[in-house]
């Protein structure tokens, strides 16, 4: 499988990465090189094979559903580019 220019633009938009028109051919070439490389996986017989979902055979640990952290609003917004009164500021999303 390989990707065309419009697919490259669609993936970039899905990934939320702005791509200019003159970057598309280069990206297309690189993505197609990677896709050609992974193509060899189609030779493998995976009939009846379970996909790996856990690297080490272990049951996921669960903890009690209780609050064990909090009251650190200053810490949480400390690195944000724009905040006001412990809120993150973003461009207007609702008209």
């Amino acid at each position: 499988m390989s990707v065309d220019a419009s697919t490259v633009r669609r993936i970039a938009h899905l990934a939320r990465i702005a791509v200019s028109d003159d970057e598309v051919p280069h990206l297309q070439g690189e993505l197609n090189a990677m896709l050609a490389f992974v193509e060899q996986l189609s030779e493998v017989n995976v009939e009846g094979v379970e996909p790996m979902t856990s690297v080490t055979p272990m049951e996921m640990k669960k903890r009690a559903d209780g609050v064990n952290d909090g009251n650190i609003a200053d810490d949480i917004v400390a690195n944000a580019p724009a905040t006001e009164d412990h809120f993150f500021l973003v461009p207007k999303v609702v008209e």
Partner: protein, 491 residues
């Protein structure tokens, strides 16, 4: 007095205990070495004041007999580990001036045990790379050079700053992370020891995530013993990482020097690649002879799905990365580039913040997870991963204790030498290491010889899950036979 930066970590520990020198003296010697080695670009942030404060505190504790296993030992930290109040960037522009308000579990355990932080070490952006050339702070230079040449060589990646710093005596040990070979490949390129532990052995909490089912933290040091000492402090269960394993941490150092008599070591025939350089073949055979001489039994084994590990990795890792890196949106931390609306703000922020390699991997990951392609790519790759893991399980079920392979297909290469149009050329560096991450196993790279141009080469040992101790025992046999490798100082 001998140069304190040339001591091994174990020697420094013993010297501190015997009051031959103080942690402050040891730390000052390293601070000076770091300042003189800026040409290597190994450190992206030096923290000398913090180091002195930590060293003084360590000296007080040592005086009271409470030094701890790493009391007063100066270390470097890969810039992927969150360090409280100290800029942590993953060497990406998108994290800008991020100063975590928390400490990663692994580094907090190092400080708990008395270690001193010298600074943050360079790495490939978000740990994506095999040469440390994708860092937003520029490439790291390997302290090793080809005989009679001053061509600048890469230290490998992604933990290139860690490898370069340890090899050049800019710290007694360092942390790294390994997703496809990012500890073992740079360790081999720099002539030092690097261990990628079993998945789940070290907590991932507070480490900038790349591919969560593959990432694992581990130590770098100049000897097997030093690596084992660091490993004991880094490992352990952490309730904050649900994939960290609740299992006692052994005294890894006790495994160093243990006899390997009677151990069964597998030599996987699939690792004998077409066109593999003869010196790599020779090194591998030499390593097998050393182990045989130490009483191990060498057997040929088969890992039939080896060749599919790298392509499966280049689906699984980018897929997980595309998901993990969705958090960099210019809202909660890091840099922001404005746009006409919120989507444009995301797109502009991410276009400006991510370098080309990271952008490429996010895009391939987005594609293989997108509607209509998930089954053909991601699901198939995860099935192949099951088969890769089963290959190892079958091999261990036959009584094999560990597997010996080369660490890399070549020695260190020059800066810019593999920057061609095809990204796959660079990816092939990890051909011997990536299988280990796919199966979640422990692996260690130990320097074992030099190539014709005088550059270090490493061997890799792959172990059973949670049997790092056997790797330290066998690794030390290789080290005893091969000796130590120190680059001539030119910087």
């Amino acid at each position: 007095m001998t140069d304190l930066t040339s001591l091994t970590l174990a020697e420094a520990r013993d010297g501190l205990a015997q009051k031959s020198f103080t942690s402050l003296e040891l730390t000052e010697a390293h601070i000076k070495a770091v300042e003189q080695a800026r040409a290597l670009n190994a450190y992206v942030l030096e923290t000398p004041d913090q180091a002195r404060t930590m060293a003084r505190a360590a000296d007080e504790k040592i005086a009271k007999g409470e030094g701890g296993p790493l009391g007063g030992i100066p270390l470097g930290v890969k810039d992927l580990f969150a360090t409280r109040g100290v800029r942590t960037t993953a060497c990406s522009k998108i994290l800008d001036d991020f100063k975590p308000t928390y400490e990663s579990t692994v580094t907090s355990q190092l400080w708990r045990d008395g270690a001193v932080m010298l600074g943050k070490l360079n790495n490939d952006e978000f740990a994506m790379g095999s040469s440390n050339e994708t860092s937003c702070f520029g490439p790291v230079i390997n302290p090793w050079r080809r005989e009679g040449s001053d061509t600048k060589l890469v230290p490998g990646g992604s933990s290139g700053g860690s490898a370069s710093a340890v090899a050049a005596g800019l710290c007694l040990g360092a942390t790294g992370t390994d997703t496809g070979g990012s500890i073992r490949q740079p360790a081999a390129f720099a002539g030092i020891v690097g261990m990628k532990p079993t998945y789940g052995r070290c907590s991932r909490w507070g480490i900038v995530a790349f591919a969560s089912s593959l990432d694992q933290a581990g130590p770098f040091a100049r000897t097997v013993r030093d690596t084992a000492i660091l490993m004991r402090s880094m490992a352990g269960h952490d309730p904050k990482d649900t994939t960290s394993v609740d299992r006692a941490v052994p005294d890894y150092e006790a495994a160093v020097g243990k006899s390997i008599k009677g151990l069964k070591i597998g030599i996987p025939k699939e690792y004998r690649l077409d066109g593999m350089p003869q010196e790599i073949e020779k090194l591998w055979a030499q390593g097998a002879d050393w182990l045989k001489a130490a009483g191990a039994e060498l057997v040929e084994v088969s890992l039939p799905h080896t060749k599919y590990a790298l392509p499966a990795y280049y689906i699984v890792a980018p897929a997980e990365a595309s998901s993990n890196l969705a958090r960099y949106d210019g809202v909660r931390y890091g840099a922001r580039v404005e746009g006409n609306n919120i989507i444009e703000m995301y797109e502009n922020t991410r276009a400006a913040g991510f370098g080309p390699e990271v952008r490429r991997r996010i895009m391939i990951g987005t594609y293989v997870l997108s509607a209509g392609y998930y089954d053909a790519y991601y699901l198939r790759a995860q099935k192949v991963r099951t088969l890769i893991k089963k290959d190892f399980e079958d091999c261990f079920a036959q009584g094999v204790h560990a597997i010996l392979t080369p660490a890399t297909p070549s020695a260190a290469f020059g800066i810019g030498e593999k920057a061609g149009a095809d990204p796959v050329e660079m990816y092939l560096n990890d051909i011997f290491t990536v299988t280990v991450n796919m199966a979640g196993l422990p692996g260690i790279a130990v320097p074992a010889g030099k190539d014709a141009q005088g550059l270090p080469l490493g061997l890799q040992l792959i172990g059973r899950p949670f049997d790092e101790e056997t790797l330290f025992s066998i690794g030390e046999v290789v080290e005893q036979a091969a000796g130590h490798f120190t680059p001539d100082k030119w910087w």
